[in-house]
Amino acid sequence: MFIFIKIGYKNLFRNKRRSVLTSIVIGLGLASMIITDGFMDGMSENMVKTITTGMVTEGQVHNPLFSDSFDAKDVIMEKDKVEKILSNDAQVENYAKRVISFAMLSSARNMRNITVYGVDPEKEKQVTTTYKYVSEGKYVEDEQSLLVGSLLLERLEVELGDKVVLTVAEAHSGELSQVLLRISGVLTAGSKEMDENAAFIHIKKAQSIFNIGQNYHEIAIKFRDRSVGEQETYPLWAQLNHTGNKGESWKGIVASFTEIMGMVDQSKGIMAFILMLLVGVGIVNTLFMSIYERMFEFAVLRALGTKSREIIIMVMSEAGAMAVMSVVLGLIITVILALPLGLSGIDYGGMEFADVTIREPIFYEFHWSQITSFPVATFMFTVLISIYPAYHAAKVTMAQAIKKTL
């Protein structure tokens, strides 16, 4: 057995240039799969982070009516029970209550329809990083605070410190309620949605202007481990739903994004398939070229008593040696191409994809599978596909082969 493997791998080096070129092609295929995987995952991780550290957070609870109506009277039901469930859940690191509704913000020159968020600043800082995107002034601090988006500021033609009027409809009576507030902070989150349409005030202020007592509309959750909350079967969700509210992870909340990411995964698979196909054709082609040149040699081997099966082992060993060389080259190519970009990250500077703003540079996301199962798959694929040319070599017609070359 060893002698066939030995002849096989030695044959690989008979036409060094051809073998190296083919290995580079296979290696490039492997490298592009690894790099695509790393950056696609990096991108999706980046976007998921943007989502889960933004206002969406890792999970939310609402009154089911609220999600459709956005009506200030549809507050969370049995809030004490809900809070108790959340406090008792070991995986919930923190949660923050929010009052959310439509409102109108007007300056002396202009007015805009906006979404107003009543937040508990200390709690909010535990579940989102929105406070980090305050570009001027301060985040919400007390009942006098008003944080507005930077684009909203432009539309209203006002500046930090100017006075504006917030008009809302009271939750049950529908009567208009107005407060005069001074702009105490400006938010530049990088997403149009937030920067143009959102304003933040203290939750107590919001509860009072909407006249909803101690009630609120949303609970934003941060888990100790994000992936736990992502499981639909995680018992917390059932417990929350049992109170008549609807609790779900970010995946359910931004379902369209989740769907798009699923498609991205699919296209990753399709790309890998096409790459493999191209690489496969390259391998078969190279092996056939080298086999056709050597039909006489296979005839000699057969004449000496070598069996078909043993010739197949020989050719597959040659392919295997080529695969090993390809994998090594592929990993080197990967490091050369991916390492600099992976360390610095690819900066898309605020580009939006699937309604999510890519705020941070995209970093390479490493998985062990990239240097274990990807190379193993490449190796197996190369060796498997070589069965076809190997079989051809083993089938050599003796009388013909020895005549052709002489």
């Binding site: 002698i3 005839a299 000699v300 008593g305 009388a399």
Partner: protein, 233 residues
């Protein structure tokens, strides 16, 4: 002289027809009756196209006769399956081609060893025999050379060593000297003859070279696929 030794090869009414339709058919061999006995040194001669190669291919099992049977040590090799034939060939026939006999990626020593590895002979015995045969064919000290580092004549000597090392019943060669100059060719056949005399190895080979025919102990002449003369000298 009469050779009373054991019959190694027995060719019974061998016919070989190439082509399927009547106008393209070639009768490369017809009614060939031949026995090769232990210890013979036989040359197949005859004009080009007379069927020498075809006959040798049939004896090697490279080709199957259209009619008749080839018996090697009493076994019909034309009826053997692929794997059985491979083993039978490995153990009973030493084959030498006209050229490119050696596996280019193996050294002279490894080329000679190859058949013994297939036979499952242990390393020690292999080394011993490689040494012995390299000296028999006059190539001591060249065992680590690759075929590309050997001359054509030296390559053919390695091929002879490889053909003999597995101790086959017979060594068969189709024009082993065709790619060598006359002097080197004659030297190769002299060496084969010496081996035949010394060890009793049976040789069958084909040739065009009158000088080499001279050396054969038995001359089988073919013409149009028929044995027209069979002369033991």
């Amino acid at each position: 002289m009469e050779n009373n030794n054991e019959v190694i090869f027995k060719l019974n009414d061998i016919g070989k027809v190439f082509g399927t339709t009547s106008d393209t058919q070639v009768h490369a061999l017809s009614d060939v009756q031949l026995e090769i006995k232990q210890g013979e040194f036989t040359a197949f001669v005859g004009p080009s196209g007379s069927g020498k190669s075809t006959l040798i291919n049939v004896m090697n099992g490279f080709d199957v006769p259209t009619s008749g049977h080839v018996l090697l040590s009493g076994k019909k090799i034309d009826l053997m399956g692929e794997s059985e034939l491979a083993n039978f060939r490995r153990d009973h026939i030493g084959i030498i081609f006209q050229s490119y006999n050696l596996i280019p990626v193996l050294t002279a020593k490894e080329n000679i060893e190859y058949v013994m590895i297939l036979q499952g002979i242990g390393e020690e015995e292999r080394s011993k025999r490689v040494k012995e045969f390299l000296s028999i064919v006059g190539l001591e000290g060249k065992e680590d050379r690759y075929p590309s580092q050997l001359s054509g004549g030296q390559q053919q000597r390695v091929a002879v060593a490889r053909a003999m090392v597995s101790r086959p019943d017979i060594v068969i060669a189709d024009e082993p000297t065709a790619n060598l100059d006359s002097k080197t060719g004659t030297e190769l056949v002299d060496m084969m003859l010496e081996l035949n005399n010394k060890y009793g190895t049976t040789f069958v080979f084909s040739t065009h070279d009158p000088m080499i025919m001279e050396k054969a102990k038995r001359l089988v002449t073919l013409k149009d696929g028929k044995v027209v003369q069979d002369e033991v000298r």
